[in-house]
Symmetry: C2
Subunit: 204 residues, 2 copies
């Protein structure tokens, strides 16, 4: 397990003490600002709350995406740990479903997380993006479930995550978003038809 926050420059040199302090302050401020205003929170405002100049924020986090990734990284790591726990405790199908529920609920209740997860695959250089972390955690669960014959073979983890993400995103700004997200996700996992009814094979 690596350090929670970035503590060194790309060249490997450790961050100067003041830089590190500002980095952490910005992360704190960003956390609460995003909780209040979602992923579109004003960067200017975040810098102000952190008590640093806006240039400092932009130096540490060149893009909004970078900041979002940093803010949510530990929460995402928790989610990945949950995946491992579930795989150990439950049968493959239940584990996968339970984890997808957890993902959807996290997205629905942490405003802005969706954006962070969705656009993560943009920069293939960094493989520790939230996106990559979640994909690999989910892949393990899906592999188990598929071996157990619990999911259709044409379903990829990326599909399921998109689904969980979509549902979370769409319910992000509802009153009780988490519960609603969970409901919708279960609906799409179970399917819309009554149990026992034959699925219509719609021609592509």
């Amino acid at each position: 397990m690596y350090e929670g926050s970035a503590t060194s420059t790309p060249a490997g040199r450790p961050l100067r003490a003041d830089a590190r302090r500002n980095y952490d302050r910005i992360l704190d401020a960003a956390g609460s600002a995003i909780a209040q205003h979602g992923a579109e929170a004003s960067l200017e405002d975040i810098a102000r709350r952190a008590g640093v100049g806006s240039a400092t924020l932009h130096r540490h986090f060149p893009s909004r995406q970078t900041l979002l990734e940093a803010v949510f990284r530990d929460r995402v790591q928790t989610l990945c740990a949950t995946a491992r726990d579930l795989a150990a405790d439950l049968d493959p199908e239940r584990a996968l479903v339970a984890w997808l529920r957890a993902v959807a609920v996290h997205i629905a209740s942490n405003r802005g997380l969706a954006a962070s997860l969705m656009h993560g695959a943009r920069d293939p250089a960094r493989d520790t993006t939230c996106h990559a972390l979640v994909v690999s955690a989910g892949d393990a669960l899906l592999a188990n479930a598929r071996r157990a014959g619990a999911v259709r073979p044409d379903v990829a983890i990326i599909d399921l995550l998109k689904l969980a993400n979509a549902v979370g995103l769409a319910t992000e700004q509802e009153a009780d978003g988490a519960a609603e997200a969970e409901r919708l996700l279960m609906l799409s996992i179970d399917g819309v038809r009554p149990r026992g009814a034959r699925a219509t094979r719609t021609t592509r």
Copy 2:
């Protein structure tokens, strides 16, 4: 069927000729701007393209939402007409599924439409919001399908629309968003499990 575009003031008086001309120009400009830049297109830019002052745009459309609704209204009406056609031509289940696909594809390929449909229910005074139109069109299809026993009884049209909306929204900015949206929607309608497998009844 009412006029496609608003042509009268709240008081019922008809719009002055120049006002009406500007209204239409803004709508045109907004259409192409939104197609290029999505729902977040710059209002200033739209006014510029339309050759009117920004104040004029704000007078006609007090909020971004108002503008989106106006831009998409006719496309949404087409969608509602499609619902009626499908109900006439196909059996209830196929009609519902085909229409939901159409909705998802529309959302995925008309950038910004999702926002328009989702937040439509904010202002209960106007009942001709895109949101309301789509809900009532879908309700008819769902009622048929339910009578035919083709959908679970605990599913409401609003759930299905949220699902279609979610999927469309999440795929809005992908390369081939429409196809991807369709695929994901079908996945969630058919369910994730292999055909024939018993669905796990997860306790609420």
